[in-house]
């Protein structure tokens, strides 16, 4: 820019003058710089040259500082600048009558008058002529007035420049958003078309009002979020939380177009499947297809059209967004509608399982064949409580996670039990499927989740195939095993309650204690020794502390 180089030349000159001790001339040059820069700043603000404005303001501040500094020290420097002052004054004396209306900068070509502390040099001149004195006074007043106005102007300029800077920043953001984001939507070079125009593409065209009627703040927020994701992705940071948080916010924000389109979708979905009375399987299949078709197309438009700035996103990001929207749809009505259809399909299974769970609600671990070491009936209550949360969750992922964690919790409970009871042997156990499945069946029956069969089928139907071979798949299979086992369960299938076993167990535990006692009997009367062998059977659950061995014998 032309003015930029002019400013630099002037500034260089001012600095050189100041360095050479010519404070007066430097002062004038600095003022010239300030004025030129003020003009330049106005031009830059109009052009939204944000970075240039910022650097110019810094330079301007520096110049103003120098001007203020020099204005303070200038009278003190007068003696040293006196010879030059004379020349200037002499020149101005000639031109002054004609230059009264010159610009402030031109008017201040002379320094303020010398102080009285420096009379030896000034006084001879003051006494030369009265007319010169009055002229000097007049000039002095004019200079002071000009300086005051200059300071005011500069202060005003600095303030207005600061405001201009803030305004230009905001304008730059908005214009950038508009240019790169909003305008790209409307640009003729980015015209989108559906290769297949059908119900859901029309629906999205109709209800996704992203490029119109949307608050600028919403678009800016989305824009910054996408930029943040890009930065995170480039730096290798996890973007899952950022996606989850933002999506959760915008999906419940009534001003956001995604919130609106989801509500519209659920409304239409409920209308289509609200009163299904026959052909349930067919309806379920259609419902699933519609949910997935809608989501897939919505994502195509979001990432292909509106969120194009995040074009280098990976599949995972898209999948996370997909899951967030699916979760939202499920939570605002889709799950409830689907479940009602599934309940209709599996009403017989539900009825049978509900009854069995009620019938066997008092079943024990031992009756279900749980190995002795794992018969922690009360201990598993925490897992039963955890499983109760199933109905409070809406998404497939959350429900799957819950079932998987329930299975993992079994070993946690066992470990904790043996940790709390260090006297019992069992701190090093391996829990295989032979042990885990009966425990899970126990937990499952105790949880007594109503209509779990239909809920399971819904989960299975919407579960991603990728999970089928993983831990989630294993959890689902375990749940299915438990459901099927419980449905076919009869009283005769239960293991009999082992009273004898309890006694036997008791005996094993107390054998060592008895041995000590038998040593006592042996020492007192050898005749008792044989009879003591059946004493243990007669204890029948009494602890040795409670039982008086002498009485029993």
């Amino acid at each position: 820019m032309q003015t930029g180089s002019t400013v630099l030349k002037l500034l260089e000159k001012a600095v050189t003058l100041e360095e050479n001790g010519c404070s007066g001339e430097a002062y004038i040059e600095y003022l010239n710089v300030v004025e030129t820069m003020a003009k330049e700043l106005r031009q830059l603000s109009q052009l939204n040259a944000h970075s240039e404005v910022e650097s110019s303001v810094v330079m301007l501040r520096h110049c103003v500082d120098r001007v203020q500094h020099l204005s303070k020290i200038l009278p003190q420097h007068l003696p040293s600048t006196q010879p030059r002052q004379h020349t200037i004054v002499a020149q101005n004396r000639k031109s002054l009558p004609n230059t009264q209306n010159n610009t402030p900068v031109q008017q201040t070509t002379t320094s303020p008058p010398p102080r009285t502390s420096t009379p030896p040099l000034v006084q001879p001149q003051l006494h030369t002529s009265n007319s010169q004195k009055s002229l000097r006074d007049a000039r002095k007043k004019a200079e002071e007035e000009a300086l005051r106005r200059m300071r005011e102007q500069m202060q005003f300029k600095v303030e207005s420049d600061r405001k201009n800077l803030e305004r230009s920043k905001a304008l730059a953001i908005n214009s950038r958003v508009e240019r790169e984001f909003h305008n790209s939507i409307k640009s003729s070079s980015r015209r989108f078309k559906w290769e297949v125009q059908d119900k859901w593409s029309t629906f999205i065209d109709k209800y996704l009002k992203y490029d119109t009627d949307v608050s600028q703040n919403i678009i800016v927020a989305d824009k910054y979020w996408l930029e943040q994701l890009q930065c995170s992705a480039r730096s290798g940071r996890s973007i899952a939380d950022a996606i989850q948080t933002h999506m959760d916010c915008i999906l419940v924000d009534s001003r956001h177009p995604l919130n609106d389109i989801c509500i519209q979708f659920v409304g239409q979905f409920n209308q289509s499947y609200g009163s299904v009375e026959d052909n349930f399987e067919e309806h379920i299949q259609r419902a699933r297809t519609e949910i997935f078709t809608f989501l897939e197309r919505l994502l195509k438009v979001l990432f292909g059209k509106y969120w194009i700035s995040f074009s280098d996103h990976d599949d995972l990001s898209e999948m996370l967004v997909y899951n967030c929207i699916l979760k939202h749809l499920f939570s605002i009505g889709v799950y409830a509608r689907l479940l009602s259809i599934f309940k209709n399909i599996y009403q017989n299974e539900n009825h049978s399982l509900n009854q069995k769970m009620l019938e066997f609600s008092g079943v024990t671990c031992q009756e279900l064949g749980v190995k002795k070491l794992f018969r922690l009936d009360l201990g598993y209550q925490t897992i039963v409580n955890q499983l109760h949360k199933y109905d409070a969750l809406f998404t497939i992922e959350e429900k799957l996670k819950l079932i998987t964690s329930v299975i993992d919790q079994i070993s946690v409970v066992v470990v904790q039990h043996y940790k709390d009871n260090p006297d019992i042997k069992g701190e090093k156990l391996v829990i295989g499927a032979d042990d885990m499945l009966p425990i899970f069946i126990f937990v499952f029956i105790k949880s007594n989740i109503k209509d779990i069969y239909a809920k399971f089928k819904l989960l299975e139907y919407f579960m991603d195939e990728e999970f089928s071979k993983g831990a989630e798949g294993y959890a689902m299979v375990t749940l299915e095993m438990a459901m099927n086992y419980a449905m076919g369960l009869n009283k005769e299938d239960l293991d009999p309650i082992e009273v004898e076993e309890k006694v036997e167990e008791y005996v094993v535990d107390e054998k060592s204690v008895i041995k000590e006692h038998s040593f006592a009997f042996e020492s007192t009367s050898m005749g008792y020794q044989k009879e003591n062998s059946f004493v243990l059977d007669d204890l029948m659950g009494l602890s040795l502390d409670d039982a008086d061995l002498d009485d029993i014998i």
Partner: protein
């Protein structure tokens, strides 16, 4: 480098004693045995990554409940299984008989798609009740491989799983993969004039809805040629 994920089910009878399914899994995945483990652990579902040639294979080992009361529900476990490791106890002939029944069931439910290995566990023990000839002949007749294993002595454990994985891989390589089939279905998905990988969302949809895409209208013919070749 291609990646695979195989599901392997462990089957074995629980009658008088245990055949050692869980111990085999633990030895293979964590290289530990009951005697040396530090605390209680759950070994129902374990995963291990293997490198076979230039391929990375993740095997998910599914332990199954072998009690008589769950036999009828066995097919729930076998579903979508790529391989099965049938474990019997060399000191208990009944467990071998039961292993034979597992094979019959597997072939009936899953067909020939499943790759089977028969492992005679507890081979470190002396009182063997199953003869080598009998089991070798049987394994050959059902297209399975037989190995004597010992989780306790760490004998042939890695070999059993590795051999099974290799055979599954060979079987899968000879048949057209799901990805290849998907690739054929998904060709032509173009967004923003740039070919993209098929996402999970898309792969979930294809085959259900057919090809759907939203495409930019090309700016110029030359540009389109440059992008799409």
């Amino acid at each position: 480098m291609s990646r695979h994920n195989f599901k392997i089910v462990l089957l074995g009878e629980v009658t008088k004693g245990r055949v050692g399914k869980t111990s085999l899994t633990l030895r293979f995945v964590k290289n530990s045995f009951d005697d040396h483990q530090q605390s209680t652990i759950q070994a129902t579902y374990l995963q291990k990554e293997l490198r076979i040639g230039d391929k990375t294979v993740t095997i998910s080992v599914w332990d199954t409940a072998g009690q008589e009361r769950f036999h009828a529900l066995g097919p729930i476990y076998y579903r979508n299984a790529d391989g099965a490791l049938l474990v019997y106890d060399v000191t208990d002939h009944d467990t071998f008989i039961r292993a034979k029944n597992w094979v019959k069931e597997l072939r009936k439910v899953v067909g020939d798609d499943i790759t089977i290995t028969i492992a005679g566990n507890k081979s470190d023990m002396k009182n063997r009740q199953v003869s080598d000839e009998e089991v070798a002949e049987y394994a050959k007749s059902v297209g399975a491989v037989h190995l004597h294993t010992s989780a306790k002595a760490n004998r042939n454990v890695d070999e059993a799983f590795l051999d099974l994985t290799k055979r599954i891989l060979e079987k899968k390589s000879s048949a057209p993969s799901r990805t290849e089939l998907l690739g054929k279905q998904n060709s032509g998905i173009i967004i923003d004039n740039t070919e993209r990988r098929v996402t999970r969302t898309e792969s979930r949809m294809y085959g259900k809805n057919g090809g759907i895409s939203v495409a930019d209208e090309p700016k110029t013919t030359q540009e389109q040629k440059q992008c799409c070749g």
